[in-house]
Symmetry: C2
Subunit: 244 residues, 2 copies
DNA sequence: ATTTATTGTCTAAATAGTAGACAATAAATA
DNA sequence: TATTTATTGTCTACTATTTAGACAATAAAT
């Protein structure tokens, strides 16, 4: 499972990632499903190497799952309840998968290490969903984008982690001008508005939304976009402060 | 130093506390000075027991230092750079204090434990400075309130931690209505304004500040305060949502 | 009685946010 | 080709909020 042994990591400390994407007017989260009987879903997670900055650890974990190096990333909260252990979950999983676990089973030492109580640092990431090729790891059966309004049941407190990530995203969206990380290079005003609506789960007035966004002076207007629809063609825009 | 042995704690994970107080129109931070030659200051800190919620660990650490149980408290950021070890600091301290360390010296095992790289969770606290009786621990020479604009040199990245705490405090102040935690039970409008000015390090217009605060509808107006000054006496106010 | 410094509040001006309206346009329809 | 339809871009009026200026009320000193 790891290229490093468990001694190489800081014990009892993990990173959980909420990877946001946007597709078909829906805000989505990238969630792997574990390759065991019992339907277990868990946020992409990992540990911190002894000589690794926590932000870089988060980047490493995110790159493995998305293939993207230069990813927008924000640390938002630490989850440190006393009940945060993988033990109940792993034991239930083992009881449901007796015959199958051999190849993937952890040895006793690893099992002890990974089933202790963990404190987890929550990071959320914003990606252009079209640039991501989701990567399973050895433990996964699959990895997919789920609408945030229709997430699968996840282990431990992972629903709470997503909830808190979304809350922080909403607070930061206007302040830090980060919505554009969820869109392709160019987009129409309507697409940007629909993205806002999916994040805040409420409608915005079209005229005033456009005014507000244009007054930020962070968009470059490009040529018109051919839609083929029976109406006026919208302009395309590009975010100016794009690092790239 | 501890009533628990080092195995009772989560290794390599600590809590650093920025305890804010307010006195004589200055925002202050409670900082202990270590009882060793060399003038070492360090934020109040501690570790997390294996069966202890991180928020409760922070409360425990704060109660030890302030004597206050019901303290306002907010987790604001994790500090996880690779350079975060006490080793350089402890070794320098040891070289400066050869004769003196015996009684307080950690044994070898404890020394190894405490000098590894640490990831630290930052909490800030807001207290009524008049209710606090600062408590030294075994390692401290003194513990005092320092104006945030005139902090002593602190070890490691503790200045950065204070900086980030202040930044978060500013962002949260209006949103969460927490300034009142820094004042006594009753206060005048001018006192509240001067508190805001010390936190944001900028002046506020008196008329508009008063209007804004009163429009929040969270203050109860009490009797007038006798000042003895040659002018109109100000009203006293009390914060309504006070949990007490 | 007058002066002084500060407090509480009012009003006007400037700014920002909200709601309604309409011309411009690209393609479908008649 | 003229008309209809759906959507886009923008304008203006209206409302709410923020900022700036003004002044009466007051407690004690002069």
């Amino acid at each position: 499972m790891y290229s490093h042994s468990e001694q190489d990591y800081i014990p009892q400390l993990s990173i959980d990632c909420v990877i946001f994407g946007y597709q078909e007017t829906q805000l989505k989260v990238l969630v792997p499903k574990l390759d065991f009987r019992g339907d277990f879903w868990a946020l992409p997670a990992g540990f911190i190497l002894q000589d690794e900055d926590i932000d870089l650890a988060a980047r490493r974990i995110l790159e493995v799952r998305t293939g993207i190096k230069d990813i927008y990333l924000d640390q938002f909260r630490v989850f440190g309840g006393t009940g945060r252990s993988n033990r109940p979950f792993l034991e239930r999983m083992m009881s449901l998968n007796e015959g199958k676990l051999g190849s993937k089973m952890l040895n006793r030492k690893e099992f002890e290490w990974v089933t202790r109580r963990f404190v987890s640092i929550g990071y959320y990431a914003l990606v252009d969903i079209n640039k991501v090729v989701p990567q399973k790891n050895d433990m996964d059966e699959s990895i997919d984008w789920y609408p945030i309004k229709d997430l699968p049941p996840m282990i431990m407190d992972h629903h709470e982690i997503v909830e808190k990530a979304l809350e922080t995203l909403r607070l930061n969206l206007d302040q830090k001008l980060i919505a554009f990380n969820l869109l392709p290079e160019t987009f129409t005003m309507r697409e940007l508005q629909e993205l806002y609506e999916s994040i805040f789960d409420k409608p915005f007035a079209r005229n005033n939304f456009q005014k507000k966004i244009l007054n930020l002076n962070v968009l470059e207007r490009l040529e018109k976009k051919f839609t083929g629809a029976a109406n006026k063609a919208p302009y395309l825009y590009r975010f100016l402060n794009a690092k790239g």
